[in-house]
Symmetry: C2
Subunit: 360 residues, 2 copies
């Protein structure tokens, strides 16, 4: 096993290190090994106990298990890791992939929707997914019942990626086992969680951000108000991706979520040509990958840490504001935040906001 | 009969004087009588034979017929004539109205759609029209089969206006006789054509511009591509009015027109609240009526006429451009155009464009 991968796994699986903290550490220290070595001291400076680092033996065992499953890791910002996904602050530092990796080299569009969709909507999803394949697009979805399954089926020939909420070796819902096995062969399956992880409710929003994040746009078909599909659509919109929805009659309650999306500005789509037209400006242009670049490591700065602590409270505040109010150099503030983060004293929120953890 | 009305009828029914020319004449000469007196000389100066003025006796007979039908005239820019409609360059100079004129004192919204609409769509139209009445809105439509009829039925209690393409005393389609009679009693019916006029294909676009023009917005329900309902929607958009459409499944061919409208920027509406929200900025604000104001009559100006003739060709050109290129005073150019118009040598087009008539 390459040491870099093992170090990445160790860093990522260490308690208290989420994707944003992971990326900050790599950005500051350059390599996973250097980040791992720095963590205990950083945590101590932040006023907490050093976190228990994920053991090397456990990391090797996880990597061997992935290997044995015929899967492999993709590291954010490297190789075939989905380029659009890597643009996100909270991109999964590692993805586990099984299947045809060539799927990741083509523009992708997500199709999501109701698990209890109507037969007509499932037929529509299948047809749309098939036609998008003819346009050279890979169809991304979540391997759930209903619209997700129909979209994968329709795109099986043209190319499809399924993102699962649990481990890559877990079939959920169980009746999707044959479909997931088929996608190992003919499509691609991605998982953020380590093998063996049973999907829990909290995993699904993480899964949804991968679906939206790796796709140039997201098409919603038959989504109930307040459903997970609408969350995926919202995430896509927040990432600046195209949000598309298939309309329905106001007399059909299952059409309400999509109609509302359209009222809120989503593009109404009726066929693959509409989807291609909507995403063309972004999807078919290859952007340059931006590899990680280590920033100079600032030495720990006690006065910056004190000032930052004073400025933080239980309400989330933008990091930019902390930097501005502190009067300290940006690098010193970022380092102080990282120290507090690793000491378990900081919560990171959407939109680059941070707050002091209230239970400590 | 008041002389002013008789003069208006005579001016309007004189061959070659359409709504735009009518309004230009009134704007220049102040009264219908003065305009009538000026027409022969204007036409001669424009190089044509003076048009045969509509006989006074015929005008009196038409007015008496309208009276006998229990109907009355509304003159553009006066009294209860629909305020929003009067804003249009080509507003009908006279409308014939039968029913409850109080309908014209409330904000109006148009509902239009397919004659062969589905039962579900007709039920939806009825419900929407009813609910719009509860919001204080009058529902305007065209007394056609399908969506129009359903909209009138739903709004019969709340208030509805039917605009017919033929004379006010003509029932078309014949099965709508009972509905039109009911609207004489409980709603209002408007006609641009004189009594006895059988509706012809060319009358329907004129009827559609009245529907769109007197309404703060137009709601389209189930319209086939290239249907009359889409023309009404386009007219509404050109007038700067709100265009709204009810979506449907892409699997339903009857939804294609509306879905396309939404793609093109129409507001997706699912209920009366959506309609009210869309039109609120304009519908519930009373604007001041702008009465006609006679402009000073410019004496005929031979050199302006010559220059204008030189600048005109068979392709439509904006009047503003003619004025700019001519170097002549705006009033003189307008007068020259009016002379050519009344001489039958000018065609007026949408958007304030004019061209030289090619067959003379």
């Amino acid at each position: 096993m390459p040491n870099d991968l093992i170090d990445r796994i160790r860093l990522l699986r260490t308690p208290g290190i989420g994707p944003i903290t992971f990326h900050q550490l790599i950005a500051r220290f350059g390599t996973p090994a250097a980040a791992l070595a720095a963590v205990p001291d950083l945590a101590r400076r932040g006023g907490g106990a050093p976190p228990r680092l994920f053991a090397e033996g456990d990391a090797v065992r996880e990597a061997e298990g992935v290997d044995k499953l015929g899967a492999r890791y993709l590291a954010a910002g490297q190789g075939l890791y989905p380029r659009l996904l890597a643009e996100q602050d909270d991109a999964p530092p590692l993805l586990i992939a099984k299947g045809n990796l060539a799927m990741l080299d083509r523009p992708a569009v997500a199709i999501v929707g109701a698990r209890n969709a109507s037969a007509a909507a499932c037929r529509f999803a299948r047809g749309l997914a098939h036609d998008l394949g003819l346009e050279g697009l890979v169809v991304v979805s979540g391997l759930a019942r209903g619209i997700d399954s129909a979209a994968h089926d329709g795109a099986m020939e043209g190319g499809t990626v399924g993102v699962v909420a649990g481990g890559i070796d877990i079939f959920y819902p169980p009746e999707n086992e044959a479909r997931q096995l088929a996608m190992f062969e003919r499509g691609l399956v991605l998982a953020e969680m380590p093998p063996g992880t049973e999907p829990r409710a909290r995993h699904f929003p993480y899964r949804n951000r991968i679906i939206a994040g790796m796709s140039s746009g997201t098409v919603v078909i038959e989504a109930a108000p307040k459903s997970g599909s609408l969350i995926t659509a919202r995430l896509a919109a927040e990432m600046g991706r195209e949000v598309m929805a298939v309309p329905g009659s106001p007399l059909d309650p299952r059409a309400q979520g999509c109609n509302q999306l359209i009222r809120d500005g989503a593009t109404l789509v009726q066929n693959a040509a509409d989807v291609v037209e909507a995403i063309r400006p972004s999807a078919f242009v290859r952007s340059e990958r931006t590899p990680y670049e280590a920033q100079p490591v600032e030495p720990g700065n006690d006065s910056a840490l004190e000032i930052v602590l004073e400025l933080l409270g239980p309400s989330p505040v933008p990091v930019d504001e902390i930097i501005r109010l502190s009067g300290a150099p940006s690098g010193a503030v970022q380092m102080a935040l990282l120290e507090l983060d690793l000491a378990g004293r900081l919560d990171r929120h959407a939109g680059g906001k941070v707050s002091l953890r209230t239970d400590c």
